[in-house]
Amino acid sequence: MSVQTLSPVNKPRISVYRMRRWGWITLTNVILLSAVLLTAMPFLYMVSASFKPQYEIFTFPVQLLPETVFTDNYTKLFTETLFWRWFFNTLFVALARCSLSILLCLLAGFAFAKYEFPLKKFLFIFILASLTLPFEIILVPLYKMMVLLGWLNTYWVLIVPFAASAFGIFLARQYCLAIPTELMEAARIDGSSELGIFFRIAFPNLKPAIAVMGIIFFNGAWNDFLWPLIVLNDRLMYVLNLALPSLRGPYGDQYGLVLAGAVLATLPVILIFITMQRYFIEGLMAGALKG
C-alpha cells in the first residue's frame, strides 16, 4: 500500500530531474557545437575566399560565400607558379626525413629497451634532457655548418640535421619495451644474429610504432618554416610553407592565389590525419602520460 501511495509522488520528481539533466546536456552541446563552428570558421572562410577574385576578398562588407565560384586562383597556381615543384619538394623532404628518423630512432630505441650496456641510463636521460632546450639556440652554428658543407639550397639541408629526434627515441623505446624478450631469446638460441632479431622479430612488432612516429615526423617536417626560411633562397628549392607567403606579392595583391595554395597545402595533412588519427593521438599521448 505504502509503495502505491509513494509512486505518484516520485514519478514527477524523476522526470523533473531528467528534464533538468537533458536541459544541461542540450545547453552544453549547443555551446560545444558553436565552439566547433568557431574552430572551423577560419578554415571554411579560407576555402570560400580561395574561390573569390582578389577584389572580392577585400571588399566591404565581406560575403561569407563567393558570388560565383571563381577557379582562376587554382588554375593560375598550377600554370603561373612552381606549385607542383614546391609540392614535390615538400613531400619528398617530409618523407625522406621521416623515414630516416624512424630508422634511427627505432634502432636506438630498441637498444635502449632491450639491451643492457654501460652508460645506458646516462645516455637516455641525456637525450631526454635535450628535449627541454629551445631548438632555436642551435640555428646560428647549424647555419654556419650548412654553409661549410655547401648544403644551402639542397634537399640534404632539410632532411639530415633534424632527423635525430629525441622525442622519437623516447617513443620508440616505449614501444620496444613491449616486445616479448622470450621471443628474442628463442631466436638467439636458434642461431639468429642480433640484426636478424631486430629485422625479423622487432620490426614486424613495431608497425604501430612506425605509424605513430611516421605521422608525427611527417607532420613536423611538412609544417616546418623557420629552418627552411634560413637555409633556402632558391625558389626552385622552396617548400610550400616558404613559397606561400612569397606569393602574396609586394602589395599583398595576390591573396586569392595564396589562399588557394594554402588550401592545397593543408589538404594532405588533414587527409592523413583523418585516416590515421588513432596513431597520431596515441603518439602524442605517450609523451604526456608516460613522460
Binding site: 635535450s130 642551435i138 640555428l139 646560428v140 618554416f225 634560413i230 606561400l244
Partner: protein, 319 residues
C-alpha cells in the same frame, strides 16, 4: 656483418689473440651490439645538436658579423642585451604570450576536457568527435594559420571587422594587427584557437586514466562535485598538468611564424617575439654572436621557468 669480418681478419693475423677476441666477443656481444644500434643516432645527434649547442655558447662570447673572423668580447653581448630596448620588448611580448597560454588557454582546455569527459556529453561518438574537431588546428602549419588570420584580422575588409561594423557600427572596427594595444591580444587569440585543442586532449587522456571507482567512492562518502575535483581529480592530474604547463610555456617562448607573417613584429615592436628578434639579428643583420647570446638568454628563461614549475608541483607532491 662488418664485425664478423674484422673478427676473421684478426684471427688470421694472430691465432691466439683471435681466439681470445672470439671468447671476449661471445661473452660481451650483447653489451657491445647496442652501441652499434645507437651509433647512427648519436652521430647525427652529436653533430647537429650537441655540437651546435656548445658552439652556440662559445659564439655568444664573440662578435661576429656574417662569415668574418670572430673576435672574443667576453660578456659584452649579454651586457648589450640588458640595455637593448628591442630585446626587452621581445621578452615582454613573449612573456605575455606565455601568460596568455597559462592563464587563458590552459584553463579553457581544462574546462573543455572536464566537460567532454563528464555526463554532459553522454554519447561516446560525440566525445571523440569534439576531441577531433578541436584538434585539427594543431595540424595546420603556422604559415597557413597566419595567412588565414590575415583575412580575418584585416582592418578594412577582414571578416571580423566586417561583422563588428555590421553589428555595432563604424566605430567598432578594431585594428587587430595595427593597433599597438590590441596586437598582442590578436596573437593570443590565434594561439588559443590553435593550441587549446591539443592541451585539452592531454587533460582528457589524464582524466580517462583516473579510475572511476575513486570518484564513485568519494561520491558515496558524500563528497560534492567541487571536493571530488580539488581533492581527487586535480591532484591525480598533477603529472599531466606539469607536462602541459611546461610545454605550453616552452612553446609560447618559441613562437615565431605567426607574428612573423601576421604582423612582422609590429606595430612599434609590440608583437615581436624573442625568437623573431633572434632571427632578425642573426639572419637579416647576420650579427651571429649577438643572436647566439639572445638564444642563450632564451634558454635561461625557459629552463628557469621549467625548474620553478617542477619545484611548485614537486612541493605539491609532499602532502
Amino acid at each position: 656483418m662488418a664485425v664478423r669480418s674484422s673478427e676473421l681478419a684478426q684471427a688470421r693475423l694472430h691465432p691466439k689473440q683471435g681466439a681470445t677476441f672470439r671468447r671476449w666477443w661471445r661473452r660481451h656481444r650483447l653489451k657491445v651490439i647496442p652501441y652499434f644500434y645507437i651509433a647512427p643516432f648519436f652521430i647525427l645527434f652529436g653533430l647537429f645538436l650537441l655540437y651546435p649547442v656548445i658552439n652556440s655558447f662559445w659564439i655568444s662570447f664573440h662578435k661576429q658579423q656574417g662569415i668574418s673572423t670572430p673576435t672574443f668580447v667576453g660578456l659584452q653581448n649579454y651586457i648589450n642585451l640588458l640595455s637593448d630596448p628591442r630585446f626587452k620588448q621581445s621578452v615582454i611580448n613573449s612573456t605575455f604570450y606565455a601568460f596568455g597560454s597559462v592563464f587563458i588557454q590552459l584553463p579553457l582546455a581544462f574546462i573543455l576536457a572536464v566537460v567532454i569527459h563528464s555526463w554532459l556529453v553522454p554519447w561516446y561518438n560525440a566525445k571523440s568527435g569534439y576531441r577531433l574537431a578541436f584538434f585539427v588546428p594543431l595540424l595546420t602549419s603556422g604559415v597557413v594559420v597566419a595567412l588565414m588570420f590575415g583575412i580575418l584580422y584585416d582592418y578594412n575588409s577582414g571578416l571580423i571587422n566586417s561583422y563588428l561594423v555590421g553589428w555595432f557600427g563604424e566605430d567598432a572596427k578594431v585594428g587587430w594587427v595595427r593597433d599597438v594595444r590590441v596586437v598582442k591580444w590578436s596573437i593570443i587569440i590565434l594561439l588559443v584557437w590553435q593550441f587549446t585543442g591539443i592541451n585539452s586532449l592531454y587533460f582528457l587522456a589524464g582524466l580517462q586514466n583516473i579510475p572511476r571507482e575513486l570518484n564513485e567512492a568519494a561520491e558515496i562518502d558524500g563528497a560534492n562535485w567541487w571536493t571530488v575535483m580539488t581533492r581527487i581529480t586535480i591532484p591525480l592530474l598533477r603529472p599531466v598538468i606539469l607536462f602541459v604547463m611546461i610545454s605550453a610555456i616552452n612553446g609560447s617562448y618559441q613562437i615565431f611564424t605567426q607574428p612573423y607573417l601576421l604582423t612582422g613584429g609590429g606595430p612599434r615592436d609590440q608583437s615581436i617575439s624573442v625568437v623573431m628578434y633572434l632571427y632578425n639579428t642573426g639572419f637579416s643583420y647576420f650579427n651571429l654572436g649577438y643572436a647566439s647570446a639572445i638564444g642563450y638568454t632564451l634558454v635561461l628563461i625557459v629552463v628557469t621557468l621549467a625548474v620553478i614549475n617542477l619545484r611548485f608541483f614537486g612541493a605539491f607532491r609532499e602532502d
